[in-house]
Symmetry: C2
Subunit: 219 residues, 2 copies
């Protein structure tokens, strides 16, 4: 797979070893995230809003209520920054200075455009839905015309993106290794647990296979 | 405890029931988050960067390498937006339109100022460290003068903040309740697991109590 072109917004100047620009790494971090943090500017102020996303190739899809400021601002062609973050551990070095976090993150830049055609919108919503729970598009009720009209869907073609990853243990200075301080990592795990069926189900409450398939996934 | 004043940047217009502005709710979401997503504007473009934070009263502390763009931009008094998000579940409604996420989030606005005095910086770093792992400030090696000089610490007094929370199951339309589609929630949990001691420890590798106290915490 190709690499994202490195440019000044995505290049890591400090600790460049943590930077990754290949599609495989960048896309796997995006795809395993349940949400992203969407940054945009409104009236000269920055806003950061958590959003559900889907990805197809180098395109991100976001959706929201048609009336929302978020959708109107983000879909108007302005610059966006979309960030995806997983926390994998609290790194407790002997020195607080070298204490850190294990993480996987992607920062992506692009401009948003509102999708107008119903076919495009349905395709994007399918990508979002299937990204969250594969098989759900067939397993749920698809949107009506009226619901589709009430929903804004935005496509963002990623112009630049970079991943940053830290793994492993504490990296203390040589002079601290003989000190009296404990060092190590507290792992942090985000996991999907067994489903809780709705109480008002009128069908067999046993979850379907596409829902069970998601159980145990560590993000 | 007091409430944050509600203003146009933090008021929820859609589904206002999900909005919370009391300090107890807002601060508990901030405090249980391991990281925040910091939004700022540089050269007219939005940036969203994951950061470790600490909180004391209505002040947030962030830190980073002195040389970093992040710290220089964020500490210069410009408007910042700092967002904290926990995902608690994937809500699978019968209709994809009503499918959603259970979450707790806070969006906070303020301006950043770089802390210059060593005493202020040490105090802020103590707040950040203790927020991540209570007892770690005493349990690790505190910063040297040189390390302190290499670190930028920023204080952000929160001007406005609002929390948004969704809990519970799927809320389907009455007409869909008799349909053939399963509905329910896939719970998502972020948890701190038992520590992994560094391989190069020269002291007893058994983790100290302040580290063990963090195990099992669900964020």
């Amino acid at each position: 797979m190709a690499d994202y072109e490195v440019e000044k917004h995505t290049r890591l100047n400090r600790i460049p070893d943590r930077g990754h620009y290949d599609e495989k790494t960048v896309h796997s971090i995006i795809d395993s995230a349940l949400i992203c943090h969407l940054g945009f500017i409104e009236n000269g102020r920055p806003f950061v809003i958590p959003c559900i996303h889907g990805r197809e190739g180098r395109t991100l899809y976001l959706h929201g209520a048609k009336a929302s400021r978020l959708m109107n601002e983000s879909g108007s062609g302005k610059d966006l920054c979309i960030t995806f973050t997983h926390i994998d551990g609290i790194v407790l070095a002997r020195s607080l200075f070298h204490s850190s976090m294990n993480y996987r993150s992607v920062v992506a830049f692009g401009k948003g455009r509102i999708l107008e055609a119903d076919g495009e919108k349905i395709h994007a919503l399918n990508v979002v839905t299937e990204g969250l729970c594969r098989g759900r598009w067939e397993g749920g009720r698809t949107p009506t015309k009226k619901e589709l009209e009430a929903t804004s869907v935005i496509a963002v073609d990623i112009e630049h993106a970079g991943a940053k990853i830290r793994t492993g243990g504490a990296n203390d200075d040589e002079g601290d290794l003989s000190g009296p301080w404990w060092a190590g990592v507290l792992p942090v795990e985000t996991k999907i647990h067994p489903p809780i069926p709705s109480e008002d189900l009128r069908i067999d409450p046993a979850p379907p296979q596409h829902v069970l398939d998601r159980v145990g996934d560590v993000l």
